[in-house]
Point group: C2
Chain length 266, copies 2
């Protein structure tokens, strides 16, 4: 099998209110993404388009934010935003605050990102409901692709599948026991989050007990390999995952979150 990933060039700086699906299709030009492909999108551009940006000027840090900020050497206003975005602080040490976000994700600083903010005095936060963002982006890509096909007065190529590409919204997470970060799926529409082989048998007939592959996280990590971190390449087109792409939007990236009662490392 073959999987390939390439960045989509020409996505401009995204502003609140922008039609991100439209910008993606414009950048794709004569090769619009189709239903056999996955579009991996860095959440920052989704957040920006949705206006998920917190201006720091109006933030008044509370007692806890002030204490945590002093302890970890951080801007108390940013820490207040982190707390606002979180349901629980798991650890705060070595300048890192690890929380469970309102979306249920466990990550550093609740995904609050100063480095990609449109203004110096603001931070980008996670999309409120990243699976809903993915579903709406997928629908919009489908709508615009269909409209374009009509304008060109030709039917969609029969080689293409009828549904839009899968949408995978990514963020960059650290790991508990490993250095460095990899991208994971935080929003998803049209891609199976997990491929469950538990109970199935491998090539030698042995039952595969624990094999439950996090397809969407692997695809997110893979997509980041195609990006140069210093260039604006938020969108990566992935080919070769057709077997995991579904007509329905499916359970989303929420299915990748281990529920609280199974968490052994709180």
């Amino acid at each position: 099998m073959r999987v390939s990933l390439r960045t989509l060039r020409g996505i401009p700086d995204v502003q609140p209110g922008d039609d991100l699906a439209g910008l993606i299709l414009e950048a794709a030009g004569d090769a619009p993404p189709n239903g056999t492909q996955v579009l991996a999108i860095a959440h920052t551009v989704v957040s920006k388009a949705e206006g998920a940006i917190a201006p720091l000027a109006g933030v008044r840090p509370g007692k806890r934010a002030l204490a945590l900020a002093a302890e970890q050497g951080k801007d108390p206003r940013v820490v207040q935003v982190v707390l606002d975005e979180s349901t629980e602080v798991l650890r705060a040490q070595n300048g890192v605050i690890i929380t469970r976000t309102r979306q249920g994700l466990v990550c550093a600083n609740a995904g609050v990102d100063a480095s990609n903010a449109p203004r110096a005095d603001s931070v980008v936060v996670l999309p409120r409901d990243p699976d809903a963002s993915a579903r709406s982006l997928r629908a919009r890509v489908g709508e615009l692709t269909a409209a374009r096909a009509t304008v060109r007065a030709r039917a969609p190529s029969p080689a293409r599948v009828a549904h839009p590409p899968a949408i995978l919204i990514t963020d960059t997470f650290g790991r508990a026991w490993r250095h460095g970060q990899t991208d994971v799926a935080i929003g998803l529409a049209g891609l199976a989050p997990l491929d469950d082989w538990r109970g199935r048998r491998d090539a030698s007939g042995t039952r595969l007990h624990a094999t439950w592959l996090a397809i969407a996280d692997a695809a997110a990590a893979a997509a980041d390999l195609a990006r140069a971190k210093d260039s604006r390449e938020p969108v990566v087109v992935i080919d070769g995952l057709r077997r995991f792409i579904t007509v329905e939007d499916g359970p989303g990236a929420a299915a990748l979150i281990r529920p609280l009662d199974e968490d052994l490392f709180r």
Copy 2:
């Protein structure tokens, strides 16, 4: 940029003592891997070639193994092997024993794998020193490629770089807060494990504080996407990562392990 991954077909069932590099080159046929590529290899075939297989018949489980096995519903002999391979048990719950392995890796069951064992009454364990395994595989691939080029009485193509491909030995790990598993790097030669952007600036001139990308783990996760889990495809050829490939073997996958004193989740 473009990254692509394809499985190498035709690797036979690997036996202890097999020349794995030779089997890989045979499978590659007329397209031998070159220094612009990464070979991602599932550790099971490395373990098998090295004889890192524990027959269960001779294992006499101790008290702790018997207790843990009863508690977690496991074969006490397998649990004894897990304990032998570990320096510390972090958690044992829901049928999963999470340990720190002798290699310093934190994972379920110390990487001990029954599903890929050559015989029903044995288990595959991790290579003793996976970075050393990667270095020796890389050297052997280089040696065999050079020998082949000589036999064919032609110089290596000038388009090819002089060093052998990078070797990435992978295993499948669960994650503390996420369902499912992704592949990570446990052994490495000739590929930068991490790409450090901390302190550098992004396209808008903002300093990137926390960006420290685990390239080798992302490549491992990506490689698994190209595999069909029920077929024997232990080797994946990755193109497009040339900028991370080094002439020297480098620090290996050991550099990806967070040291004990930085572990916030013991």
